[in-house]
Symmetry: C2
Subunit: 528 residues, 2 copies
């Protein structure tokens, strides 16, 4: 995920070595595979693709070495599918002896649209260091160039910046050494009798797999790290597919080991070269530590993990409840904002209230398992928050929740109140039906993260057809636009939208978008 930068580098953090050691115990094995490029392609105007940039095949990969390149000439390799790993290629020279270094550029792209933009035009606020592009000088040919960094891509554009008038550069045997901790052999596509949904499922599995590395990464291109909001959805999708409990435990232990000195779980942690917590805090993200622990225990009970991490979970809840007033209203401040979605164009008070209720329910389950003597206290707060929501945030005349001083009605409030089960199930269904009637088509939401919660609320309230339509309209449209994996950001009414001012910075394989595998398994198959 991405968000407005927080800079809190005066915050001190704990470092619980016992929990770090447990995180290390669950370090995954990486599965590696050598994948060759499939063909040589060129960019192509194609209105059906993202930003109108498609590809056309120009040559067999077997003919790669017949392309002799000199100053400013380029080729684009197509690996046929999204890949995460290290790139290598043979390079030699043709013509007279090599009388100058080779200077060339490698640009790695998940989507063809990335290749249509000049990197030098990018001037956004996110670091341009994320652009997957390398300038390389090679003094001696022939060689096998092995780039040391990991890239996330399907396409590799190789530009010869210069040889000399006397010789040409020749590339051959391009290869990616892929890396993932997901065991793809564990997953088969469920029989859905709907090819579109089956494809939606498969792309979700690929998205999740490519984000499963040493931790659950948010995106293998960017930010390549462990965000707790992404982790919650990845863990759910993973239980529906790879069923890898260890990687979830590893990530939970990492967050638990490195809370701020006031006890809050940070929104993300860095894991290479060292474990370092980020100085970014989001109210709902800290709470989701509880949610992820509860989901894990639901998937398969693990007493040790519960015993180790329950104190951290309880601390998140206690810190959150300090912000609930006597009426049962959550009162947030700007220093510890609730995320809900990237957009800051809607009021998040009611959605924040609902997230806390949602997580408090899960926490009470954990507290029961732990026979926590404070259990009743939490039940009382839960009831008070529900009552406040029903009486002060629900507008019976509209049949929808309002949010903020202006009594704004937005989708996020309805969805989270439904997921939090504040009302009875009939009312929840009416709320979601009214949401479809009054608030659809969805506008102004660019994250699969928020779309996931909308879709799940539809499924949970029995609005199966509307949920399937949304799956197809949202995730299905990404596929039609050329997605091999699902994207970090997608606003169907503005397909070319980038939160960073340039699609070069977008992550086109992003964990929080993989949830169709979870939704399909949970609501459209007999599994789980």
């Amino acid at each position: 995920m991405a968000f407005t930068f927080q800079i809190n580098n005066n915050v001190a953090f704990k470092h619980d070595q016992r929990l770090i050691d447990k995180a290390d115990m669950f370090k995954p094995q990486l599965y590696k595979q050598k994948i060759g490029a499939k063909s040589l392609v060129a960019l192509n105007n194609d209105a059906s693709f993202l930003e109108g940039v498609g590809i056309k095949r120009v040559d067999d990969i077997q003919n790669l070495a017949s392309h002799q390149l000199t100053r400013d000439q380029k080729i684009i390799l197509d690996f046929g599918d999204h890949q995460v790993g290290k790139f290598s290629v043979d390079i030699s020279s043709a013509g007279s002896p090599m009388d100058a270094p080779l200077f060339c550029k490698f640009k790695f792209a998940e989507m063809p649209a990335e290749l249509a933009h000049k990197s030098s035009d990018y001037d956004g606020w996110l670091s341009k260091s994320w652009i997957q592009e390398e300038y390389i000088h090679i003094d001696e040919l022939p060689t096998r160039l092995v780039l040391p960094r990991r890239y996330s891509f399907r396409y590799v554009e190789i530009t010869v910046l210069d040889t000399s008038p006397k010789w040409q550069a020749v590339f051959d045997h391009p290869l990616v050494d892929t890396e993932t901790s997901a065991d793809l052999s564990q997953v088969t596509t469920p029989q859905l009798n709907d090819p579109e949904l089956e494809k939606i499922y498969q792309v979700g599995v690929k998205t999740l797999a490519d984000c499963m590395q040493n931790v659950f990464e948010d995106g293998p291109k960017r930010d390549r790290r462990l965000w707790i909001g992404d982790l919650r959805l990845q863990a759910l999708a993973n239980y529906a597919t790879f069923r890898d409990r260890d990687l979830v435990k590893r990530c939970l232990y990492l967050f638990g080991a490195m809370t701020a000195s006031d006890g809050r779980v940070p929104a993300n942690v860095f894991t290479t070269p060292n474990y370092v917590p980020d100085d970014t805090f989001l109210f709902d993200y800290s709470l989701f530590f509880i949610s992820i622990l509860a989901d894990l225990e639901t998937f398969q009970m693990d007493q040790t993990v519960l015993d180790d991490l329950y104190p951290i979970a309880k601390q998140q809840m206690d810190l959150s409840l300090e912000r609930v007033n006597r009426s049962g209203k959550l009162v947030l401040d700007d220093d510890y904002p609730v995320f809900i979605d990237w957009s800051n164009d809607f009021d998040k008070e009611t959605a924040g209230q609902a997230v806390l209720i949602y997580v408090l329910r899960q926490f009470i389950d954990l507290a029961q398992q732990k026979s926590d003597e404070d259990l009743d206290k939490y039940r009382v707060v839960l009831e008070k928050m529900i009552q406040y929501s029903k009486t002060s945030l629900y507008d019976p005349s509209r049949g929808l929740f309002i949010s903020g001083n202006n009594h704004e009605i937005n989708i996020a409030s309805q969805v989270w109140m439904v997921l939090a089960k504040v009302m009875d199930s009939d009312t929840n269904q009416q709320i979601m039906q009214r949401t479809c009637d009054d608030l659809f088509p969805i506008r102004g939401i660019a994250t699969p993260y928020m779309y996931h919660h909308v879709t799940e609320a539809l499924f949970q309230t029995g609005l199966r057809d509307q949920a399937i339509d949304l799956l197809k309209d949202y995730w299905g449209t990404m596929i039609k636009l050329g997605a091999d994996t699902y994207w970090e950001a997608f606003e169907p009414e503005k397909p070319d939208y980038s939160p960073y001012g340039s699609p070069i910075l977008n992550s086109y394989c992003h964990a929080w978008s993989c949830t169709p595998v979870y939704l399909i398994q949970k609501y459209l198959t007999k599994g789980m």
Copy 2:
């Protein structure tokens, strides 16, 4: 050196493994030294420097780590003198945790003027791959960045292309691991009682040393290879200083081992990763194989080298003499041009004739040592060529040599005819005096290579003061313009001239310019 490109990639070459093995026997030891940067500097308008670009000191190197750099900020390190070697530096981050890769650029410059030009503006015919510039992404800090390529520089400009708004990049302990096969402890500056000449000598020694690597390179920045025209002058300068015979032998064996199938010695050879002859041929350069062998035998007789390489030398002479007509006139064609100088704006016929006479004299010395039964034949040709020169190329009314159909009078003709000792020594002195009177100040010559021959001709004809003036005016002016080592190209009347359209491509440490050490030792000290 550089020259118009020849492309002759249909030429076949011999590969004499016996001579290659001998070349390998003389592979030198590289002396390595760790040198730290001396200060932080900034570019400065300074009309007294090359292109008006000087430097000013901005901070102690001890304070380097206090400079915390973010997007588009830069620093310039000054290593205090010209260096050839590998660069390394500590890099860490300050501020919040490193939430994006570091993207930075390292630009290595021999002269401040190189840093004032944008690499992207360069569009000349020489490969832009020679620009000493690296774009680097670093995923994990702290690290010690060790750049694997060798650079030739005094200044290193480090530009942070991006960090993120949350953190800054910090550099510390920059180091160059220098490499040379010259043993600097062998050389002391002669007492000349002239600080300017002593400085000219010292800069020449540094120039030569930095070009002495696994072979005598023409320039450690560019082309980094063994050119025979440069080698001849380097060897002479080396006898006057480091006295390293083995490196000369190694280079001669390499040229001898890889002649074209018609017997010609190529103008240069590549030595890494493999020994490969270039498909470029220059008439005078092939001949200079003989000259270098003769100079070596003069410096110290080596019968084995003479026995091994005399046949190659003889072949060069025989191939050259095929181009001498019955009158004793050398007739050249465009496929095998004579170099003399970069400039193609003067007629080279007479200078070419003189070079052949010059080398033929040296060859006859070798043929005598080898008791070659063809010796008389060569003496006859020598006499005929001298006679032709005296009668057909010397204009007694002007007291100067003419060249070409238009009877052009140029400096190169006079200088080479004097060096070839075609006339008696009184006449030679008159020719050089007239050259000074009529043809000075020199115009249109941009190479220290040609200036060397002018200066030597002045010394040889006893015009000592004029020779010293030229040493000071030419090499001394480079020093005044900021040279730590002498340049590949310098045209005093147009100091900003670059043969490549941009000074970024110029080599500012170039072997063929190091000869003041030879000239000073030979003509201004009692040594040698």
